[in-house]
């Protein structure tokens, strides 16, 4: 049985193709750069990143935007490898929000 990410020929995704393009946002550039920089340093691989995305619950996978999935997958891998914890990312996110508003 195909998993959620395995969309080839999937009858559930038969809509016409939406061709509008959104302007890449700074946080998307950052998500892209951090993820690929970690690859280049040998801390994680592209395959692991895809596996992490594929491990998401179907409802979550479908509801997230493209770079949102990247962020989630990068976080999963960093926690899995014992480099960061969800809690310290929570704390840092709150700290940065308070600092920058």
């Amino acid at each position: 049985m195909a998993s959620i990410h395995d969309l080839g020929g999937s009858p559930g995704a038969r809509s016409s193709i939406e061709k509008s393009q959104h302007e890449t946002e700074d946080w998307e550039r950052l998500a892209d750069a951090v993820t690929v920089a970690l690859d280049k340093k040998g801390i994680k691989t592209t395959d692991e990143h895809r596996r992490a995305q594929e491990s998401l619950k179907p409802e979550l996978y479908k509801s997230l935007g493209y770079y949102e999935r990247w962020v989630v997958a990068t976080e999963i891998l960093l926690v899995e490898k014992g480099i960061l914890t969800h809690e310290e990312i929570d704390r840092k996110a709150t700290e940065l929000e308070e600092k920058w508003g």
């Binding site: 969309l7 080839g8 559930g12 939406e18 509008s20 946002e25 970690l38 995305q53 960061l84």
Partner: protein
């Protein structure tokens, strides 16, 4: 697993902004800050990686195609070793990812997709367009490629074989489209302007002279 979603319910999954994305924006900033604090990444490495991606665009693919149209020996090298051919034109596509250039002919038209995620020849063409990452394209490119191309304005004769290439983390494809009719006397720079991003993916063909901007 049953397929429960309908693409119409999420037509803009790549274009959402606002509150939902703010959560992830905040998360990646926190991750970056922590990685820098721990000495795992430097700010400089992140900045360089952003610059690396910003420097890549379909113009690189257009340059490669225009050279291949005018230089048969270069074309042979592009088809046999895309990374080395790119290097000749100053395009750095080095790294572990393999690149394959697939040539359109009067008999075969090539189309590129990544059904599993969004693998794309990023080191040459930059980030993929939003539609390339859409669930609809990923699903339909392999099951009804002609209908997909029709949505991009390309109606292929039925006697042309369509070859769909499903990219992976390890192998990325780029299409070498056919030189359009009427482009015989043009130089490389003029030819490059005919080569659109969509023609490098295969959902369309290059512009015809006179239509190029």
């Amino acid at each position: 697993m049953s397929e429960t979603y309908n693409g119409h319910d999420h037509p803009h999954e790549e274009t959402r902004t606002g509150a939902e994305s703010a959560l992830y924006a905040s998360r990646i900033r926190a991750i970056e800050a922590l990685l820098v604090e721990r000495g795992i990444l430097t700010k400089e490495e992140v900045r360089r990686q952003i610059e690396y991606m910003e420097a890549r665009s379909p113009a690189n693919g257009a340059k490669l195609v225009a050279r291949a149209w005018t230089d048969p020996e270069f074309k042979a090298r592009l088809l046999s070793d895309t990374k080395a051919a790119a290097r000749e034109l100053g395009i750095d596509a080095s790294g572990p990812v393999e690149f394959l250039t697939v040539e359109n002919t009067p008999e075969v038209h090539n189309l590129i997709v990544c059904t599993l995620c969004s693998c794309y020849p990023r080191a040459i063409l930059g980030r993929p367009p939003d539609w390339y990452k859409s669930f609809a394209y990923r699903s339909r490119a392999v099951s009804e490629p002609r209908a997909v191309m029709r949505e991009f304005g390309l109606e292929l004769p039925m006697d042309v074989t369509v070859a769909v290439h499903d990219s992976s983390a390890d192998v990325r494809y780029m299409v070498l489209p056919m030189r359009p009719p009427g482009a015989e006397g043009m130089d490389e720079e003029e030819l490059a302007r005919l080569v659109t991003r969509n023609s490098l993916i295969g959902v369309s063909v290059p512009l015809e002279p006179g239509l190029a901007g």
